[in-house]
Amino acid sequence: MTRLRTILTIYRKEIVDALRDRRTLLTVLATSVLMGPLVLLAISGLVATLEANAEQREVVVAGIERAPTLVNFFERQTYTVKPAPADYEQQLRKAKLADAVVVVPTDFEAALVRGDAPIVEVVSDSANQRSQASAGRVARLLSGFSRERATLTLALRGVSPDAVEPVRLEERDLASTQTRATQITGMLPFFVLMAVLTGALNAALDTTAGERERGSLEPLLMNPAERWVLVLGKWGAVASVGMLIAVLACFSFLPGQWLLRSDTLAAMFQYGVREVMLFLVVLLPFAAAASALLMAVAIRCKTFKEAQASTTVVMLAASLLPLINVFSLGEESPWYLWVPALAQNVLMTHVLKGEAFDAAQLAAPMLVCAVLAAGGVWFVSRTLRSAAVR
């Protein structure tokens, strides 16, 4: 009973202390909570330009004057035909030109009449992504032209057009709109994870290395409270700050979503209160574990600065581990769920894809977090006394 009261006393003091550190708090809020929505906005801007590009019905042709038949076809498909600039190859390489260029050979019309199958080039640069996207569109348009010519020729000779197309091709995409969206919104879990870590970092350092640097750890240990009680109170406070940032970061995407400029993205990016809750189920244990881990690293350091340098390793690991999921191109191994940060990333990606995860999938990361938290608290309590006097 007295222990619980002591834990609460320490918890309350550390929370007050952390909340009074206004400048740090504001920096953390600004970087971690605003960052996500801003990135979301940037992505939506990018997608919006791509969409605008796709909607422009334009074809760039080199040698228009040589192919009136082709131009006639393009115009019937409601495309605007634009002449290509003389140095189109140069411009494509430098990514100045965003459209693939159709190059018409000199004797196009004559060859067409003779039935010699003239060669039409579609020029693009695969390093120039926008021209690459329009190349596919232009190629489809050109094969439409070929098909029309063939059908006409066959019809003149009284042959059914089906004779040249014995098989019909139809594509079916299995990905749901949300799955497709994760290709773009896949970095969201990463931002949320980093927000939690940066949120907890300052409080974790202040309650350990900061306390050593100020010389307040030694007097603190001269109170008749057990060390694990002290550490538990401190850890609770640090974890709470981390969790608070997690909650704020998760909710910050809700208003961010309303600002999306691309309708398609807004439709694909389904992020509502349910998703927020699932994110939090994954993130809150992570915040608790990360706090304990950061404190365990920091308690060995004499000064705040030294601790900042040491905890960089933790931060780096937490930002690199989720990359495993990115590099594996969507194929998940079961061991992913046993790696902190990576597991959280995997589960949050599931949520964004609109897939559910069950309790069994949650069990492994929960267990890892519990072990990390307990280990961290144990280590800090063990080190506390020797840290105070040295």
Partner: protein
């Protein structure tokens, strides 16, 4: 009442030398405290006098349970510190060498926090903070954040924090370090009052390396040198023992004579 008998403590420290080489530095044993004896009765101020590095801070840290002793016994009001450190701590108010405050908390919050950790109720701790603020003349400071405090103001706050649970035993490690004349005088007055029956007849142990402090304040003196208690007694007794008129001379004789003869002056 505090009793320390035959206290000893050694540390291991790297001995320098090939520190940056591949060869691991050899560990060197430093005997910080060899044989410290101290008896501090209630209602008295006992001075722990010794040169720098004599083992005063180590002794007081062991008394506060921060580091375990290698040998010897420490009792606070007949409670063994080694066996029941938390009960002993509840009966002690320690102003240690490190006296860091929480800069974002007010002086009152700093004091009440320690009161709560000592198991006091909030109101009780608050009332006690008021009383201590009156005693140390820091009423105006009470609701200011400790961030911009001067040395003296910090020291007063730290002292109030250490005494919040009204302990029967008060241990002060070089409390006048960095204090000006007025602050030192005020502190001296407070300690004298705490010694009286009206002030609670506290047992006060006071470590210092300043002669004048001891002469003016202490009822009895324990002289420590090289981790050993080399003399015990009142100031006149020590003067008589060494045959000196001046206490400083007496102290030098007691504390530094041992360098020539390891057996030292027997108390």
């Amino acid at each position: 009442m505090i009793r320390i008998e035959h206290l000893a403590k050694s540390f291991t420290a790297p001995s320098g030398g090939k520190k940056f080489g591949l060869v691991r530095a050899k560990l060197r044993t430093v005997q910080a405290v060899r044989d410290v004896n101290l008896h501090a009765p209630d209602g008295q101020i006992t001075g722990l006098l010794g040169p720098n590095g004599a083992g005063k801070t180590t002794t007081l840290r062991m008394l506060a349970g921060l580091i375990p002793a290698d040998a010897g016994r420490m009792r606070v009001d007949e409670i063994d510190v080694g066996a029941r450190p938390r009960e002993a701590l509840a009966r002690m108010g320690v102003l240690s060498d490190a006296r860091g405050l929480y800069p974002r908390l007010t002086a009152r919050e700093n004091i009440v926090y320690y009161g709560r950790l000592q198991g006091m109720a909030r109101d009780q701790a608050n009332a006690r903070a008021e009383v201590l603020a009156e005693m140390f003349e820091m009423r105006a400071l009470l609701d200011r954040r400790t961030d911009g405090f001067s040395q003296g103001e910090r020291m007063k706050t730290a002292l109030a924090r250490a005494l919040v649970h009204n302990p029967a035993n008060i241990i002060l490690d070089e409390p006048t370090n960095g204090l000006d004349v007025l602050a030192t005088r005020a502190l001296r007055e407070s300690l004298r009052w705490l010694r009286t029956p009206a002030g609670g007849a506290k047992c006060i142990v006071f470590s210092t390396h300043i002669m004048q402090e001891v002469e003016r304040l202490c009822d009895s003196v324990v002289v420590v040198a090289h981790g050993r208690t080399v003399a015990t007694g009142t100031v006149p007794e020590l003067l008589a023992q060494t045959g000196e008129e001046d206490f400083e001379e007496a102290f030098v004789k007691l504390a530094f004579v041992e360098e020539q003869s390891p057996q030292g002056v027997v108390a």
